[in-house]
Amino acid sequence: MAPLGKPKRRIRVEPLPEPRRGQPLPERREPVREPAREPAKPEKVPA
């Protein structure tokens, strides 16, 4: 850090970049898909 000289203090400056401000967005979740059901088979009627 020699070119900049000795560190003196720490500060905080806003505004921050919009996408990075605050909490991160929640992860997008894929909708849960129900397993496909087989179509109901017609009941066999005895002849």
Binding site: P3, L4, K8, R9, I11, V13, E14, P15, P17, R20
Partner: protein, 168 residues
């Protein structure tokens, strides 16, 4: 943490507005490098990507950026004279690289040094005119900023409402 006195607590910022700083970059010297962006760190390991407004400092050490006992963060000097007195005038290609210098606006956490600062975030605000035949027009267009003379730096900061940490 560390040996640097802290500023305001996390809930309240010290300043509202960007901090002005001056730095120089190596200009991308290959087609591949230009695909990432024109402006690179002196080590050519870190690129200021075109199309991304903000540059975010990175560090593999896993601490708060910029670190108190680490050199990480985006470096900048307080003004053009301080930079040239410290680093000299870029050679304009004598060592195989070309350089440009310009103005950044910094935000987030900042460690203030005697001659400049290290910042968490920064964006390119201006490119300084100089005598070297670097593609400054293309660079300014790529980063959506203007080309100004180094002697106009003070007026530029006033016009843009930038904070000068050397004038506190």
């Amino acid at each position: 943490m560390g040996d640097v006195p802290h500023g305001a607590p996390d809930a309240a910022p010290d300043y509202l507005g960007l901090v002005a700083g001056v730095r120089s970059w190596r200009v991308a010297n290959t087609m591949w490098a230009r695909m990432g962006g024109y402006l690179w760190s002196w080590s050519m390991l870190d690129c200021w990507r075109k199309g991304e407004e903000w540059k975010e400092a990175e560090c593999r050490s896993g601490h708060r950026i910029p670190g108190d006992s680490c050199g990480c963060g985006i470096w900048a000097f307080f003004d053009h004279d301080t930079m040239t007195e410290t680093l000299g005038t870029p050679s304009g290609g004598a060592d195989g690289y070309e350089y440009v210098s310009g103005i950044i606006g910094a935000g987030g956490d900042i460690v203030v040094h005697e001659l400049g600062f290290r910042a968490q975030y920064a964006k390119v605000l201006g490119i300084f005119s100089d005598e070297w035949p670097t593609p400054k027009d293309e660079i300014a267009e790529s980063y959506n900023c203007t080309i100004i003379a180094p002697e106009d730096y003070d007026a530029f900061c006033v016009e843009r409402g930038l904070i000068r940490l050397d004038q506190q």
